[in-house]
């Protein structure tokens, strides 16, 4: 109900802006028709000495706690690249849009970025629901999206590059770790939407094949803050560990309730796949100390590239601001796009895609390589433990980057999932 007037206003604005764009186009004819002759392909505005890219993140709503940090690191990468001369001699001009934790808004803003702003590529989205909402928009307009967050896999799009982990680079290593620790009975808690439901389907298939038991499975609406009953259920189940796929600040309410119910990392550890350093800070370390996370990067990950990244981020946003996995993946995605564009010598999405296979970047998480076939990247899996200082200490890693396997073709138990 509340969005009705604003949609009308946006449409009006969009219409006016589109009209203005048409007038401008016919007047100077300066825009490059990037994607060959296809009339459906997006027009990339690389006129003048700048090239525009879109940043599409939730700056408000329940997901803002996470997505604002992603935008921060995207801006950092763009600033760094611009300081060194830009891409193909052009400075990158970021156009930022607020997805407002609302999937239709994401699709609407993606269309605006592609059609009105003429961006060469878009970086952003966090929840799988927002990615699913914009996927057809990018495919229809033949424009590129760089998606920086771990997700549930089982997806491939010719116009999306996935720079976060897919299942076999995060969730399966986390399950392997729990198994190695003797945690056989799991309880699944997640937000009620695409990612947790698909991830839990995979977890259940894994458990069946590996002699683990799933004692219960509960979903709370995204943004929900009432977790007392779920905490009671988890407690009564006497599970060995909880696998947490809650997103956004539902985690605040969940961990408060978890502690209130008398549960702790010592009695029943929680493995989370969607809370990183920034979320740890705002949830409060007194609720999270000792709990586990599964990611590919932590602020504490060793390496010269990470030292530089952490230093640059803190210099730009404040010494108390931590860096996290999705931020690192977002930062890396801008550099990967730059490398692809430079190899292709063009901003044309088709040529950029064709140039993507084998592109490498010395990322803060370590060397990453683009797998051109799946448009995912090779990443190292890391399990971490949350410390009292709010930082996450690595307790296990996979040793080397794992080849992305979004459809879990390498696992016999996963047949039939996709």
């Amino acid at each position: 109900m509340s969005s009705v007037p604003s949609i009308h206003r946006r449409r009006l604005l969009a219409g006016t802006a589109a009209l203005a764009a048409v007038v401008a186009l016919s007047a100077c004819g300066a825009k490059t028709d990037a994607a060959d002759s296809s009339d459906k392909a997006a027009k990339i505005d690389a006129s003048g000495d700048t090239v525009k890219v879109g940043l599409l993140n939730s700056l408000s709503g329940t997901m803002a706690i996470s997505e604002v940090t992603v935008r921060n690191s995207l801006l950092l990468a763009i600033q760094e690249i611009n300081a060194k001369g830009g891409v193909l001699g052009k400075k990158i001009k970021p156009i930022s849009e607020d997805g407002a934790s609302d999937w239709p808004t994401f699709a609407e803003k993606a269309t605006k970025l592609i059609k009105e702003d003429g961006v060469a590529a878009t970086f952003g989205c966090w929840t799988s629901a927002s990615r699913k909402a914009v996927k057809p928009v990018f495919e229809k307009n033949k424009s590129l999206l760089f998606y920086p967050v771990q997700y549930e896999g089982l997806e491939e799009s010719p116009y999306i590059f996935y720079t976060g982990a897919t299942t076999n680079q995060q969730i399966i290593p986390a399950l392997d770790y729990l198994k190695s620790q003797g945690k056989k009975k799991l309880y699944l808690v997640g937000s009620d939407y695409v990612f947790p439901r698909t991830a839990n389907k995979e977890i259940k298939a894994y458990a069946k094949a590996n002699g683990m038991t799933i004692l219960g499975e509960d979903y709370a609406p995204l943004g929900s803050t009432e977790f007392s009953t779920i905490a009671n259920k988890v407690k009564a189940s006497k599970a060995d560990a909880v696998f947490n796929t809650l997103n956004g600040d539902s985690n605040v309410a969940f961990f408060k309730e978890y502690k209130s119910a008398g549960l702790s990392a010592a009695t029943m550890p929680v493995v989370s796949v969607s809370i990183a350093e920034e979320e740890v800070k705002s949830i409060g370390t007194q609720y999270l100390e000792g709990q586990l996370t599964a990611w590919n990067y932590y602020q504490t990950t060793p390496g010269a590239a990470n030292t530089t990244f952490v230093k640059a981020y803190k210099a730009k946003y404040g010494a108390d601001k931590p860096t996290s996995d999705p931020m690192e993946a977002a930062y890396t995605s801008v550099y990967l796009w730059k490398a692809m564009v430079e190899k292709a010598k063009s901003f044309d999405p088709e040529k950029v895609k064709a140039a993507s296979d084998g592109i490498t970047f010395d990322a803060p998480e370590g060397l990453v390589t683009v797998d051109g076939a799946s448009q995912h990247i090779y990443k190292t899996a890391r399990i971490g433990k949350i410390g009292s200082d709010g930082l996450i200490e690595q307790v296990w890693d996979s040793g080397k980057p794992i080849k992305p396997d979004p459809f879990l073709k390498g696992y016999s138990w996963a047949s039939g999932l996709s």
């Binding site: 509340s2 700056l59 943004g223 007392s228 009564a236 119910a261 008398g262 705002s282």
Partner: protein
């Protein structure tokens, strides 16, 4: 057995939260017939008051206790201001109050976004509220979270204070007189406009107290009011408009119903079942659990 007891306690604690958010509304909507859609934003104001006080006062426990009266005053003042600016012009057009206060609620949300930023924020609970009390020990212990007990205590205190005010004080008598017959109260020498504003101050102030309680449960954000306002209206409509007793009973019944259903099904299914139960109940008793009996003909 422990499970049933545990869920009942959880239900009572959910009911206490519901009661707190509905209590102020039962005064402004129930007694004064104003559909105040901005009530949720007064709750938000109370929550942000807690947040601001915690930033300026170091001890989490002290800041929480200070926040209770301060949030009452801040939200109450906002309510009285809203009444003075807009609502007093609309007492004879209750449906219009819905639109006007809805507009105000959107403005207040945007204001919060401008002042505190769009991302939600959290407060730190004092140490004495993060633990729990064991009621039944042994193998399968029954524990109750301290923060939930605190909210329950707060709800009971607020109900007692409100009902005593309505029953025993001159102000309460005047409010009840205005509710029963505005014209008669006016000709009897009661300044109805002043009574209206005071009642609005109290109702909105109670929303502020609810906001303080909600900071113990989850995050604080510009849209937190819209998340709770529907529940608050449900409690009052089912309880019987203008009936404090109905509000109290229905808040706890809905809380226990929600928690028991949630335990045996899922969160979403439980929400649907509770709504179905409410619709069925209103078919049977459209006027709600209790009704106001007056001598007026309307």
């Amino acid at each position: 057995m422990t499970v049933i007891l545990g869920q009942t306690f959880t239900g009572i604690s959910i009911g206490a939260v519901l009661l707190l958010i509905a209590l102020g509304l039962s005064l402004t909507f129930g007694q004064m017939n104003v559909i105040n859609m901005a009530h949720g934003e007064f709750i938000m104001a109370g929550a942000y008051t807690t947040y601001v006080l915690q930033k300026s006062i170091s001890g989490a426990g002290i800041s929480l206790l200070v926040a209770l009266p301060v949030a009452f005053l801040v939200s109450g003042a906002l309510g009285a201001l809203l009444e003075w600016l807009l609502i007093r012009r609309l007492y004879l057009r209750p449906l219009d109050t819905l639109l006007v206060t809805w507009g105000v609620s959107l403005m207040l949300q945007q204001l919060a976004r401008d002042i505190f930023g769009a991302p939600n924020v959290q407060t730190r609970a004092p140490d004495w509220l993060t633990g729990n009390i064991t009621l039944i020990g042994g193998d399968d212990p029954l524990t109750v979270a301290n923060s939930r007990l605190f909210i329950l205590g707060l709800a009971v205190a607020a109900v007692v204070a409100l009902s005593l005010t309505l029953r025993l004080t001159p102000l309460g008598r005047r409010i009840r007189a205005v509710v029963q017959s505005r014209d008669l109260a006016e000709v009897s020498g009661i300044s109805t406009s002043r009574v209206d504003r005071t009642a609005f101050f109290i109702g909105s102030g109670l929303a502020g107290v609810a906001g303080v309680a909600l900071t113990l449960v989850g995050p604080i954000g510009p849209t937190m009011g819209t998340n709770v306002i529907i529940d608050a209206f449900l409690v009052i409509v089912v309880g019987g408009i203008g009936q404090l007793r109905g509000t109290v009973i229905v808040a706890f019944v809905l809380g226990v119903l929600q928690s028991v259903l949630e335990y045996s099904t899922t969160v979403s299914v439980a929400k649907v079942l509770v709504l179905v139960a409410i619709v069925a109940f209103l078919q049977w008793r459209p006027q709600g659990l209790y009704t106001l009996r007056t001598r007026s003909l309307v």
